[in-house]
Symmetry: C2
Subunit: 221 residues, 2 copies
């Protein structure tokens, strides 16, 4: 249904980014000014969102003059597209690593993947939450450009989850009647909602409950 | 498990507020300056979030001087508590009306309730989304005061859904093994995630898919 070669970039909360956090502040020789700006912007926007991350703060934190910023990016909106792309790219590594590990059964892999995300996006993580989710509520309504990128990020992420569900169907671990793509969407959106609630409650309980209902109820039937 | 007399204020996306939208702008004799400020703040924050709703914009839209604002509210944060309370109160009416209609079977009532919410918080609504969800991602991390109110709003909402699930268990429509409160949390958080995705995708499909998986899969077993 979703051929493996289409398993393109995936947007996911936390994993690699959290681990790279200290690197971003201690790094002394960034690959390029553009890369450095994106790295700084990604950390600030993950922490504070779009509106609360001012251009001046980005420039000050990055130690880059305004002219240099506008040499690389036409606007803050365009810069944010690059930040989203970086987030998607970094998170895709984790997704490939866990979901692509075919030595494990597909549903075991999928559960392990979400368990990892609790560590990297939940309340004990260096930065909580998911940039794609946060920006979806904050800017999708006001920026068609960013809305398109956010929607595409979710679509790719969903496709990767759908592939694992499809594999589970083929191996007889899920009934043939399931439709992997909408089910993957339901899982992904449910994860985003659980993450939202974990931020309201300052607790990982909604994330653990999410895993339980998905893997011990919905997919166990 | 959750006695009916505890069915306190409930925070829900959209219904009554969307219908009251035109009233808020045409109203010429608000009950009080405080009420009028809250009404204006609620509409602005539902449309633009917390950060993008400036105090000046609130004052200008309400036609109220700054001194009067500070007569009623110590800060924008304190004002936002009142806005959340108003949202919760207005939405509780819809919740009581639909979920409290015991002439309908509990799960039918619960489905009808979410179907209504698609109309009032989905892409065809006057204002899309849920204020509680949006503020949870935007301000819960930075304001302990607002975080507490948001968490309490979700808790009350969850309790109302849990009561309906409990009733379904008692009537034999759900197995006795289910635990109404965490299941209500899973439903509520899943709804918030579907709403987030509907904003990223500019589509009601995630909301309709949510209903299908909950009512035709999870609760149908």
């Amino acid at each position: 249904m979703l051929p493996r070669e289409k398993a393109a970039p995936i947007a996911l909360p936390g994993a690699r980014i959290a681990m790279k956090k200290t690197t971003s502040t201690t790094k002394t020789a960034p690959a390029s000014t553009r890369d450095h700006l994106i790295e700084v912007g990604l950390e600030l926007m993950r922490r504070h969102g779009y509106g609360a991350t001012g251009l001046q703060e980005i420039l000050h934190t990055a130690g880059v003059p305004k002219g240099s910023f506008y040499h690389h990016f036409g606007s803050k909106e365009e810069f944010t597209v690059a930040v989203i792309e970086r987030y998607v790219m970094l998170e895709a590594e984790h997704c490939q690593e866990v979901l692509g590990n075919t030595r494990q059964a597909p549903l075991r892999r999928l559960r392990r993947y979400f368990e990892d995300l609790i560590q990297t996006a939940g309340q004990t993580a260096a930065i909580q939450g998911c940039l794609i989710g946060t920006l979806s509520l904050e800017v999708a309504a006001s920026s068609a450009l960013l809305q398109g990128r956010l929607s595409a990020s979710f679509m790719h992420w969903q496709a990767s989850i759908a592939m694992v569900l499809q594999e589970a169907v083929m191996k007889g671990d899920l009934p043939k009647s399931i439709r992997p793509d909408p089910l993957a969407g339901f899982l992904l959106n449910g994860w985003e909602g659980a993450l939202l609630r974990s931020q309201a409650d300052k607790s990982d309980a909604p994330l653990n409950d999410f895993l339980r209902y998905i893997f011990e109820e919905l997919l166990a039937h």
